[in-house]
């Protein structure tokens, strides 16, 4: 109940505060020069596609992206998945997918199928399972309470 109330409040706030695309652009400003969405996507695609990228840099890029107020575009997601392949870390790839799904927020019903449709060829090519295939869209294991250890 608390969550639904908070969700409704957030939606109301969003409407009244007017978070528009211009504001997103403002966030992405780098020292006065405005960066368009395409340039932003290209920058991160290039970042993940760099030769000799290591796990630290992949994690750094993904942590940064998932901390921003945006949904990564399919191109960035694919590029990130390929970076995971290059550093041979499938766990990272699955977590990255989960993170991108989580970034869809309350638009998950519309955005996530779109993203999935766009990145399916890459997923097939690399052999990365989707979250649904793994059964990670629902809680699988429960944590033991620290008081029972």
């Amino acid at each position: 109940m608390l969550r639904t109330t908070a969700g409704k409040l957030a939606t109301a706030m969003r409407g009244s505060l007017g978070v528009t695309s211009t504001r997103v652009v403002a966030v992405r400003c780098l020292h006065g020069t405005e960066e368009s969405a395409e340039e932003f996507d290209k920058r991160y695609e290039k970042y993940f596609a760099r030769e000799g990228i290591d796990g630290w840099e992949v994690r750094k890029g993904m942590n940064d992206l998932l901390g921003m107020d945006l949904v990564p575009s399919p191109k960035i997601i694919e590029s990130g998945l390929r970076a995971c392949r290059r550093v041979n870390d499938i766990a990272l790839a699955i977590r990255w997918l989960e993170g991108c799904k989580d970034k869809c927020g309350d638009q998950q019903a519309t955005l996530y199928p779109y993203l999935l449709e766009k990145i399916t060829p890459t997923l097939k090519e690399l052999g990365v399972p989707t979250i649904e295939e793994l059964g990670y869209d629902k809680p699988e294991l429960a944590l033991k309470s620290v008081f029972d250890m």
């Binding site: 041979n88 499938i90 766990a91 977590r95 052999g127 399972p129 793994l134």
Partner: protein
């Protein structure tokens, strides 16, 4: 080698190669203890050393929070500094297999690789638990206990209120305050009209 350097806080691009070259050069020039001494220069002593010791044989895979090798499941920061589980021979074998084609890995293997790196999935750590009920209950209980203590103290511990609390004494006090012109700017006396001897 790479990993031990990273554990030592060494994270410059190409540093591993440079250090390895330096070590090799030192090895050829002098006995091996000098080479280890050279390496020790790169060791930083930080307040994360305790955490690092506790992280055991877990592989350090990122910078983490303030450079501390901690594990945390959090949507704002989904890739923590260390892998969740310690290295075992089984997981080493599986990671060898991971180097090859991922399509050849079974779903179980992919899952166990994931669980090696991460403790909980997104849907698990974001699952809404009914823990808030306990928090609310504890809050209400403490308020209730506080109220009971207040009522009991009033009934059984404290004396009767002094005589100055009755209406007559308080009226006299107010009269005195006005006569002494206390708080004449914004306070009680500013509301008293002294020329007509009544409230404004």
């Amino acid at each position: 080698m790479m990993n031990s350097l990273r554990c030592a806080g060494c994270r410059l691009p190409g540093a591993a190669a440079a250090v390895a070259a330096a070590a090799a050069a030192a090895k050829t020039a002098s006995p091996s203890h000098l080479a280890t001494a050279d390496l020790r220069i790169f060791r930083r002593f930080t307040h994360h050393d305790g955490t690092r010791a506790m992280s055991g044989t877990r592989e350090i895979v990122g910078y983490g929070v303030n450079g501390s090798p901690n594990y945390i499941d959090c949507a704002d920061f989904p890739f923590p500094a260390i892998r969740y589980r310690e290295v075992t021979s089984e997981i080493c074998a599986m990671r060898e297999k991971e180097l090859g084609d991922w399509k050849k890995l079974s779903l179980e293997e992919k899952k166990s690789l994931y669980r090696h790196s991460f403790c909980q999935t997104y849907s698990e750590f974001q699952y809404f638990t009914p823990e808030w009920k306990l928090a609310v209950a504890l809050g209400l209980w403490s308020v209730a206990i506080g109220l009971i203590i207040t009522l009991l103290s009033n009934a059984m511990i404290y004396d009767e209120l002094p005589i100055t609390y009755d209406d007559e004494h308080r009226q006299a006090q107010l009269r005195r305050i006005i006569q002494l012109q206390m708080n004449p700017i914004t306070g009680i006396s500013s509301k008293w009209d002294y020329s007509q001897n009544k409230w404004k």
